[in-house]
Symmetry: none
Subunit: 138 residues, 4 copies
């Protein structure tokens, strides 16, 4: 038995992320994947980068694929660290900068959120807001 | 000036499509692309096929890429017809079965909707419901 | 909550499939994916085609992606039928000939098996043997 | 004559690797390729990362493709070293961090093992255990 995020949960997560994006006035793409790494929902705000569509989806996938935030993975993917080169695997889907975070339920990863469009810090803050919306309901 | 669908409009279109999908009890994926063919929003209902994620997005892309419904394009893509082989172009993004429809405003294509998850007829009906939500506001 | 196939179950399924392949003296590739469509296990028998590695994995993925046996999907993917062109979607992963079958538990799809290496009929028979191993334990 | 790993040998290698993975309590993906670099067998343990499916297969491929352990190749793939950029070749299949090791017989490479799921050190230890199972039989 595996728990996985529902569309309804994904929509709550995305709504909270968009709310935060508006607060800091940074248009972004937000994506949510399920426990299998498959896309559940995606939105691109008006004026957000089209290059960030893929990045938001792939950040979410990466966070679920390795059960780690993409910002943390970044540290291990630098030259002369143990996972340098991981960013070239999985046909280019692995994204190694901040903005992707696993969604957990009782410690189990049930999906992930990926945000792209602002600075690493902005994307991370927005993803975090999405994450908290899910936690608030438990 | 190019008119293009906004996120707000895409969300109305998707909400109407999901409403119709619920009415006919057929879980689906729904995607909306803008005038540039780039994804604006996507949702996958619980229990909808994971193989339909890409198809919904690519149906929407196809409908905008050629300003034609994918059901109509299907007729031209059969063996011994004039565009047979078009389904192999554009790195496989061209989708030639029903469920993708251009979104228009005063005759100009401003984006497209793509639906995947049911039969061709069901997908088409659900996409049509999304289309009508947009028209109802004009 | 989603049920998904375990490695232990996948290994039983594969062992039963290989047993059947030996009985009919047809070396094959066998793959099992989980509920998320992600590979759980794969084996290629000695002398089985290397071109069938991908096909076995993609048949399993296809059977899960659309919750249908790939032999049945074949009927809908022919010219002038409703899903003609589906074989060009999902970046070429959709495989539309016999040998992929969903694995079910109480009616829910928990993964899929894909077999490639023999004729369509042989692949189907071998996949069916894998399927039955899982059912026998419930 | 080319010696190449058999399915039976691959299964021994994988069993030994999984045994070691269990000992150190680190779920992983393990893959074995033959002398042609083509996949012979793959397993993903329950709770092992889905992002490691491709990495385990590609580590094995890389170790055979260049007859070198991927951990050693890592040294040559860093910025300002002679093979920097090799990780971008071969359509992204080249994996340049520890966990892939060639399988040898009388000094000839007959295939390779790839492990992914833990730290570089863990993956290397588990791959080494697989390698030793093969040597023990000669």
């Amino acid at each position: 038995m595996t728990k996985t995020v529902t569309l309804s949960q994904a929509q709550e997560v995305i709504a909270a992320a968009l709310h935060r994006a508006d607060e800091i006035d940074q248009p972004v793409n937000v994506a949510v994947v399920d426990a299998g790494g498959n896309l559940v929902a995606h939105v691109r705000q008006d004026d957000a980068w089209i290059g960030s569509i893929d990045i938001s989806i792939d950040k979410a996938w990466t966070a679920r694929a390795f059960d780690i935030s993409t910002g943390d993975l970044a540290e291990y993917a630098q030259p002369d660290t143990q996972f340098f080169g991981i960013q070239n695997t999985n046909r280019g889907r692995v994204t190694v900068f901040a903005g992707g975070i696993p969604l957990r339920d009782d410690g189990h990863v049930i999906g992930a959120i990926g945000v792209s469009g602002g600075s690493g810090e902005q994307d991370q803050t927005i993803a975090q807001a999405g994450l908290e919306a899910l936690s608030a309901h438990r």
